[in-house]
Amino acid sequence: MPDNKVTILIVDDEPAIRRFLRNTLAVQDYRVIEAENAEAAAWSVRHEKPDLIVLDLGLPDRDGLELIRDWRAALAVPIIVLSSRVDEKTKVAVLDAGADDYMSKPFGVDELMARIRTALRHRFTSQGTQPAFSTGQLEMDLVKRLVRVRGEDVKLSPKEYDILKELVIHAGKVLIHSHLLREVWGGETAVDVQYLRVYIRQIRQKIERDPERPEYIVTESGVGYRLQMHE
């Protein structure tokens, strides 16, 4: 790399979208490279080693979903998907394939920048599992198995703790229902999303100030949950 700047690859076939993303990222001191199709994107990933990829699903030569699957096998680079496809099925497929985040077009750049920062931070921190985690007034000690909110200890059942731990490890990232069920309940069959909803509700009652307007565990409709990072 020529300098220490974080490199972001923008993959989108719409020139107008590339233009504002390029400008927005450039003023925040990111190095920006662009690709207008899957072929150019694959080349850039191989030769320019981006730190993060912003990917549009509808590319003229290949579907973005296939690219995610290709890259996931070999790369640990965070991928944020931007798409005008709004159905939950696509969102789940994209996240399941290994994308870190999904944003529907149109979107405000402040939201995208926050997601980019989260994904990058996660990339740099997840390389060694951090023993302690905190965001806002939520603290978690993964070694001592302690959870504190607003300075007070919170008693969580083992399942509740496992769910929160999984969210914390992937803080800022959307975890789809099936991912949480797989990680927390393991091979147990016939565990329903309803279970998860019940546990999430219990955790929220213990850690959220107002469970109806959660600050930490936010719902991604029809897709999953995300631990919201507070800066």
Partner: protein, 556 residues
């Protein structure tokens, strides 16, 4: 219908008359013509005369009492060829001729020997009986032949039905078969709303049934038995009705009518009618089933269209909006960090994308106008190069690295068109060409023949896969999945085609042999139009117009 017909107790004429009954009856045979009769009797007479001559020739070798045997072949031949009566005529003639041999030499027609008299009598009886037998086997052969013909026709008929998919055509085919095989007027009634019988199809067309016919038809459906005609059930009815029965029950009624002669069918015809009714029943059932399938297909297609429309609308609206919202939010958050040039570039993006959104909305409104039929094209005499100029002006400042070149034939005739619609149609085609032809030239070529004028837009893009050449004009249709193409491409060509056709023209897509697509709009030239032969040459062919120089593209 609860009313009882006058004579409901009587079982109607059996529809499956036994074969012997059929044989006894005259095979719906037309009365023999005089000519045929003359031939039959003449030939029979000649055969007997031939026998007579032969008998005279061999008389010396035969015993007198055996001479009658000479005549037996002639009788059998006549009966076998022409039936019982000519056979009988031959036997009588033979008997008379025989007397000539058996009479005493002096008196040619007086048979004196009683043995000879008895020989002639017995010969006549045997000959008459043989004639009857020959007649019967002749009749059997004819029946078998008729049956074979009917079987053939029925087979051809069922083959024909198998090839028809349309419900109306199916039922019509069944009815036509009844009409032609039985020589009757025929109609099919099917229970409609409230189980009232409706005339589904009639040959020749019939609007309504008489009161008696309607009652007879209703009775037929209700009891699943024939009525009307020459049956004793509803004898006032002009038609004979037979039920159309399938595994599902009675699906309708087949009515036949011989017009003024009254509907009397021979047992053979009843059999045929029964067979035809079976076919018609299956047909009606199949038609009803086909209608369901067709309905389901329509619903599915409408659904597909709606899905395509929704995803297209989503993509086409959201993509420019994403650029606009992204640009504006970026300027709002980080505006102070941008230099003047970047700020200008970003505002330019927001403007272009808003214009794109506006064009897309325009197309959507145009499609709606086409669909609702509120579009009324004007017919003004228009100079094609004028329209091309107007379109090129709209592409001024188009940020694409493509050159638009015009090649307009000198002396191009004026064409009666709607200026605005033609311009929009041309604009959309050009817009599409520019989206795909990301390098090279796009050529607008205008040519004419004696009766037509063609504007062709040729690009140097990847061309159109042959299987999509027609579908490319479907609204919301894209060659690839919705968001894999530039936004706003799903309607433009549909609008162009709709407008072109509304003005009486044609728009077709094809591929150029050297690569790239060509869209040709062809309009008829009105004969009466004033054709000013002024110089129409606005530009030299293939030389770029000043306005179409590509502006340096801001993007990469």
């Amino acid at each position: 219908m609860s009313e009882t017909p006058p004579d409901a107790k009587t079982t109607p004429h059996s529809m499956t008359a036994p074969i012997s009954l059929a044989l006894g009856a005259a095979m719906a045979k037309p009365p023999k013509k005089f000519n045929q009769l003359a031939v039959a009797y003449s030939v029979s007479t000649l055969v007997v005369i031939a026998s007579l001559i032969a008998g005279m020739a061999i008389k010396q070798w035969l015993a007198a009492s055996n001479i009658m045997l000479v005549f037996l072949p002639s009788v059998l031949i006549s009966a076998a060829l022409y039936g019982f009566r000519p056979g009988l005529w031959a036997s009588l003639l033979s008997a008379v001729a025989g007397t000539y041999f058996l009479s005493s030499p002096g008196d040619p027609f007086a048979v004196s020997d009683p043995a000879n008299f008895w020989a002639i009598m017995i010969f006549t009886l045997v000959a008459a009986f043989a004639s009857a037998l020959a007649e019967q086997s002749r009749h059997q052969a004819a029946t078998a032949e008729a049956n074979a013909r009917i079987t053939d026709q029925m087979y051809a008929f069922s083959q024909k039905l198998a090839g028809i998919a349309n419900a109306d055509e199916l039922i019509l085919a069944a009815l036509t078969q009844v009409h032609s095989m039985l020589q009757v007027d025929a109609l099919i009634l099917i229970p409609g709303q409230n189980n009232e019988l409706d005339i589904r199809i009639a040959l020749p067309p019939v609007d309504r049934l008489t009161f008696a016919d309607r009652n007879a038809a209703n009775w037929c459906v209700e009891h699943a038995k024939p009525s009307g005609g020459d049956l004793r059930v509803w004898p006032d009815a002009t038609h004979l009705f037979v039920p159309l029965r399938t595994g599902q029950g009675v699906v309708g009624v087949l009515g036949v009518n011989r017009g003024n002669q009254g509907t009397y069918l021979t047992p053979e015809e009843y059999k045929l009618l029964d067979a035809l009714a079976n076919h018609a029943a299956v047909t009606v059932e199949r038609a009803a089933f086909g209608a369901h399938v067709e309905e389901a297909r329509l619903i599915r297609e409408t659904e597909d269209f709606r899905n395509a429309m929704l995803s297209s609308l989503t993509h086409d609206f959201k993509t420019p909006l994403a650029s606009i919202l992204g640009t504006i939010s970026s300027l709002r958050h980080y505006g102070s960090r941008y230099d003047a040039q970047t700020q200008d570039e970003m505002l330019g993006t927001a403007q272009e994308e808003s214009e794109r959104l506006n064009r897309y909305l325009g197309n959507l409104l145009d499609i709606t106008r086409l669909d609702t039929g509120t579009l009324k094209p004007k017919s003004e005499i228009i100079d094609i190069s004028d329209i091309v100029g107007a379109v090129l002006k709209r592409f001024q400042g188009w940020p694409e690295g493509v050159r638009i070149v015009t090649a307009i034939t000198p002396d191009l005739p004026m064409v009666p068109l709607d200026f605005m619609l033609t311009e929009q149609a041309l604009f959309n085609i050009l817009d599409n060409a520019l989206k795909y032809a990301s390098y090279g030239n796009v050529v607008i070529r205008a040519t004419s023949t004696a009766s037509t004028c063609t504007i062709a837009i040729e690009d140097t893009g990847p061309g159109i896969p042959p299987e999509y050449l027609v579908r490319i004009f479907d609204r919301f249709y894209r060659v690839k999945s919705v968001d894999r193409q530039r936004a706003g491409t799903g309607l433009g060509l549909a609008v162009s085609k709709g407008f072109t056709e509304a003005m009486g023209g044609k728009l077709v897509a094809s591929n150029r042999p050297k690569g790239g697509a060509v869209f040709s709009m062809t309009f008829p030239i009105a004969r009466t139009a004033v054709q000013p032969m002024l110089s129409m040459v606005v530009n030299n062919p293939l030389e770029p117009l000043p306005t179409r120089e590509p502006k340096a593209a801001a993007s990469g």
